[in-house]
């Protein structure tokens, strides 16, 4: 297990040092959300109505964009092979990288969501549910995303492919994430079933993600 944390620590440090991963995603999120009213016009009612959906989609896209780098930089500079030759099973290695992605990308995105929600005039009641649903969705995003990242490792500029592969996997997360928020807005008890399903999706992806990603990596490194 100590190898797992060593790897995790290194990835976190690299993310901090390079700044880019976190930065890209956060900046993108901020920018998408501030461009939106420019495009849709300043109608606050309209904005507040579409706010949960917009925020969820923007978050998903921001996280998606940083996925491609999950294994790529290590592959390009030769460290992925050396890491794979280390003590950690490839599954745990993929898990560590996905976790690092969740921590350096997902969490900061969720943390600044309230500020953006304010600018979109989101109903105050919706804040806790929105944040909670996003927090629950983050693991699914990063761990399912790792599958796509591993599959597209060697395709140059695999951006499209990655997005195309991962998007269908994200649909349940997105649907239940948003429906949790909408349910909470309409009644006090409505959200709990959506939350249950969301958690289930996340749990499943915690298992499936690393397994599939490791299998893909094994083939990629041939």
């Amino acid at each position: 297990m100590s190898a797992f944390f060593t790897l995790l620590k290194r990835d976190l440090r690299l993310a901090l040092r390079d700044g880019g991963a976190l930065g890209t995603a956060l900046g993108f999120y901020l920018i998408v959300v501030s461009l939106l009213p420019l495009g849709l016009g300043p109608d606050l009612n309209l904005l507040s109505r579409i706010a949960p959906g917009i925020l969820w989609i923007a978050l998903l896209l921001a996280a998606l964009l940083s996925l491609s780098r999950m294994f790529e930089t290590d592959y390009e500079d030769g460290s992925l092979e050396a890491i794979a030759a280390g003590p950690l099973p490839l599954e745990l290695m993929a898990g560590a990288k996905a976790l690092a992605h969740a921590l350096t990308t997902g969490v900061p995105l969720v943390v600044i969501t309230p500020v953006l929600a304010l600018m979109l005039n989101l109903d105050l009641k919706a804040y806790p549910v929105l944040i909670a649903s996003m927090g629950l969705g983050i693991p699914a995003i990063s761990f399912l995303g790792s599958i796509g990242a591993a599959l597209t490792l060697k395709t140059r500029r695999g951006g499209l492919l990655l997005a195309l592969l991962v998007l269908p996997l994200y649909v349940p997360t997105l649907i239940f994430g948003i429906s949790a928020v909408n349910a909470a807005l309409s009644g006090p008890q409505g959200a709990s079933s959506s939350f249950l399903i969301l958690s289930a999706v996340s749990l499943v992806s915690l298992v499936v993600g690393p397994l599939a990603a490791a299998a893909a990596l094994r083939i990629q490194m041939q």
Partner: protein, 214 residues
Amino acid sequence: MVQPLKLILENVSVARGTRTIIADLSLTVAAGEAVLLTGPNGAGKTTLIRALAGLLAPSAGRISVDGGGEEDLAQQCHYVGHLNGLKASLTVAENLQFWADYLPGHPSAGSVGRVHNALARLNIDALADIPTAYLSAGQKRRAGLARVLMAQRPLWLLDEPTGSLDAASADIVCQLVDAHTANGGMAVIATHLPLAIKAPRTLQLGAKIAAEAA
């Protein structure tokens, strides 16, 4: 002293794409032996080394390490290829520290001491706190090679280790290899340059294949 081991290749063939680059090669490397792979560009040196590192599956035959534990090939070797495996934004010491912590423990010293030691042996201790992005080509190469000292493993697989090194550094690398083999380790090294290694065995890879290719 590592447990005496043997690297055994039995009728190994390796293909790249659709072409068979290495055909039906049998070879035994005993503990304490260093094998130099030579041959023209495109002969298949890199291909063979990657197969030994478990990174390419042989299309036929079997590669195994005999006498060791049941860990697979990749866990028994240090492979340093054309790429150095360095993170440009981490310093030399941070890069090595990661490997020292990540790779399974080394009996003789704590991981910090081990890094320190390796830096000194490769004569890059003055560069310890410089991000690797700022190093010259040869300095990067030495930092990359230092990884083999971060954990004790029986088999070293080095692909043109001295390509961008000056004479003094190349000697240092040869001494490291000598110390490793003297200690019962094995090394397989692809090189174009004559290396000042004690008693190397040389395996010349097919000029024929290369002539086809180039």
